[in-house]
């Protein structure tokens, strides 16, 4: 099958959906001829025109609210927040409006919108352009939260997100944009709420999200060389979360590492740990539930420091050994 990059997969998904459904449009800063900060929307304005690929002023509060207002009246906006860090300025519309509107109105509204959020560190953009704040969103009932770790998932999950009638926070990782993998040409959907077992194994379960899925897979290869059989689970969507897949794997291996890039303290991994710790899988545990998360520090600029701030393949490898008392 042909290979395309994560960023091409996102673009293709949007474009195919826009061809299918004329209510879908995209809005954001510099998404026209500039193609967006990461080139994800490159060329889309040529096909769809400035009406459906709407370049906005630098006004995150208005454009996010505009997305919500248009969604509740019949459109299906895709909002690109240039760097996910800037979502701080759009939080009222996401948290107090989009997420709660249906509930507050007793079920009489729906807000079908997707917010695309390029996130994560690794590009030298420093503290205000490198955060991974998806955990915030998972804490807000009414939002769905998606975090694809490869091009194939990105395309299928985005299609499902656009078709979903709820506000969906779609976390894209900057360092994955150029990573290629096999992606079918036709449009397909990956349902929200279904985890993917990226690698089967019986000794240790790693539940990893976003960029960490790829690192976990690398670590698993290295561990395989040592005769350790690692299972890697990628939840793909944090809300809804495929609890069953996670708990099943834990029961099978009895040893769990949860790996995420976001700041360790109160990152989404803590929810996964808590789920396991309160479940009947608890009795199957042969070791503490270990976590790897980002340092409790802002993301630094210097490349070596930046690398040290988030889990690397070797850290995952080490933690797995620790789980096996080796």
């Amino acid at each position: 099958m042909r290979e395309i990059s994560y960023s091409e997969a996102v673009r293709e998904s949007m474009s195919q959906m826009m061809r299918e459904d004329e209510d879908v449009y995209i809005l954001g800063e510099d998404i026209g001829v500039y193609g967006g900060a990461f080139g994800v929307t490159s060329g889309m304005i040529d096909e769809f025109g400035p009406e459906r690929v709407r370049i906005t002023p630098i006004s995150e509060a208005a454009i996010s609210g505009c997305a919500v207002g248009s969604a509740m009246t019949g459109m299906r906006p895709i909002l690109e927040i240039q760097f996910s860090d800037f979502v701080v300025i759009a939080m009222d519309n996401i948290v107090n409006q989009a997420a709660k509107m249906r509930y507050m109105f007793g079920g009489k509204a729906k807000v079908p919108m997707v917010v695309r959020l390029p996130s994560g560190s690794g590009a030298g953009f420093a503290a205000q352009h490198s955060q991974s704040l998806e955990a915030w969103m998972t804490h807000i009932p009414g939002l769905k939260v998606v975090q694809p770790s490869n091009a194939y998932d990105a395309k299928g999950l985005l299609a499902a997100a656009i078709k979903d009638d709820n506000p969906v926070m779609f976390y894209e990782h900057k360092m994955l944009y150029n990573v290629k993998s096999e992606v079918p040409e036709e449009l397909y959907e990956i349902p929200l709420g279904v985890a993917d077992i990226k690698r089967e194994g019986k000794d240790v379960t790693i539940i990893a999200t976003g960029l960490m899925v790829n690192r976990a897979l690398e670590a698993a290869e290295q561990l395989a060389a040592e005769g350790i059989d690692v299972e890697v689970i990628d939840p793909r969507t944090l809300v809804p979360l495929d609890e069953k897949a996670i708990l099943q794997s834990v029961k099978k291996t009895g040893r769990v590492l949860v790996a995420y890039e976001a700041v360790k303290r109160n990152g989404f991994g803590t929810e996964i740990v808590s789920l396991i710790a309160e479940s009947d899988a608890f009795d199957y545990l042969d070791a503490p539930i270990l976590r790897l998360g980002g340092a409790e520090a802002p993301i630094p600029y210097n490349p070596e420091l930046e690398k040290a701030a988030i889990p690397q393949v070797h850290d995952i490898y080490q933690k797995c050994l620790e789980l096996l008392n080796r």
Binding site: D23, Y25, E51, R54, T56, P57, S59, E60, A61, A62, I63, S64, G65, C66, A67, V68, G69, S70, A71, M72, T73, G74, M75, P77, D92, N93, N96, Q97, M101, R102, Y103, M104, F105, G106, G107, K108, A109, K110, P112, P141, G142, K144, D164, D165, N166
Partner: protein
């Protein structure tokens, strides 16, 4: 009422060429809003309404006047002080009272309360607990109208205090740049919760802010419903004909405190008395209608009775309604 104030209205009633039926309906709606609010105050004092609520007594002319030029397809976004807007846009008072009493027959099945009443069917996109939040939402609703060529216009209500929020600024700019069919309608009642707009800005009127966005704007007497109708009709027409947004600042006054716990220390009782005595929008409209022979004192009394009855019925409906069952806690979160 001063002769000057009367003069404007008498002139306008001819100019606007309104039907007796419309004028009477508006008179009725203003009374209905007043009675609605007075009743809520009672229900609150009786402990039947909990939480908070924001009464709009004294501001009936802006609500009813601004909604008059709107069709049912046109939409409004409202505020925490939204009961009047809702009623003026055709939202059913039975379901409103039921909502305030937290009943399952309420607009939000008892989940929203005063600050979240919405009625999509009549184009009421909802009250909002966040100051200025209705402006970006309204902008988006106007975008839908433009993109889908639906022809409807959106009117956003907000207060003077809201104009100091970033959302106000960003929304007016965006709506202007995209030439959206929207009317930004500011009810300047002189105060936020307690902050006097004179102290919270350094400008003579909020209308001057339109120029920052290339949006035409004007300041009007918000307690003269005819002036409200005139300004809003023009603005709605502009929007309807793809001539973009308008900003209207309507001066008015809220008679009650900000919410039920307000001791009103930030303003004088004299100021309140003055507004109530000589600038009651209901009295002013009534006088004009009487002087122009549109209604009689008897008609007015009848409208009053009818409104009282309608609210009584609404309260009865609400009180006899069921509370939501506990399992509704977890419904309506996702589609």
């Amino acid at each position: 009422m001063s002769n000057q104030l009367k003069g404007v209205s008498n002139q306008l009633i001819n100019e606007l060429n309104l039907e007796k039926h419309d004028l009477t309906k508006m008179m009725y709606d203003m009374i209905l809003i007043r009675k609605f609010e007075e009743n809520l105050k009672q229900l609150y004092q009786q402990g039947k309404i909990h939480g908070t609520m924001h009464l709009c007594i004294g501001q009936e002319a802006t609500a009813v006047g601004a909604c008059f030029p709107l069709t049912k397809e046109d939409k409004i976004t409202s505020t925490h002080r939204g009961h009047g807007h809702s009623i003026a846009k055709g939202t059913d008072v039975n379901k409103m009272v039921a909502e305030l009493l937290g009943k399952v027959t309420g607009y939000c099945k008892g989940k929203g309360g005063s600050m979240h009443i919405a009625d999509m069917e009549v184009g009421n996109l909802g009250a909002n607990g966040i100051v200025a939040a209705g402006l970006p939402l309204g902008t988006g609703a106007a975008l839908t109208s433009q993109m889908k060529k639906l022809g409807y216009v959106v009117l956003c209500f907000f207060g003077d205090g809201a104009t100091n929020e970033g959302a106000f600024h960003e929304s007016l700019n965006l709506a202007s740049v995209w030439n959206l069919p929207i009317v930004f309608f500011c009810e300047n009642n002189l105060y936020g919760m307690s902050g006097s707009i004179k102290e919270m800005t350094n400008i003579e009127s909020i209308a001057v802010r339109g120029a920052s966005y290339g949006i035409p704007s004007e300041t009007i007497d918000g307690n003269d419903i005819l002036e409200v109708i005139k300004a809003t009709t023009a603005a709605v027409e502009r929007a309807r004909h793809n001539n973009g947004p308008t900003l209207i600042e309507a001066n008015t006054y809220r008679w009650e405190g900000h919410s039920r716990s307000d001791a009103r220390k930030y303003r004088t009782r004299e100021e309140e008395k003055e507004w109530k005595k000589s600038n009651d929008p209901i009295e002013r409209f009534k006088t004009v209608l009487l002087e122009n022979g549109i209604i009689t004192e008897d008609d007015f009394a009848e409208l009053n009775e009818k409104a009282i009855k309608q609210i009584q019925d609404a309260v009865e409906f609400a009180e006899s309604s069921e509370s939501p069952s506990l399992d509704t806690l977890m419904t309506d979160i996702y589609v």
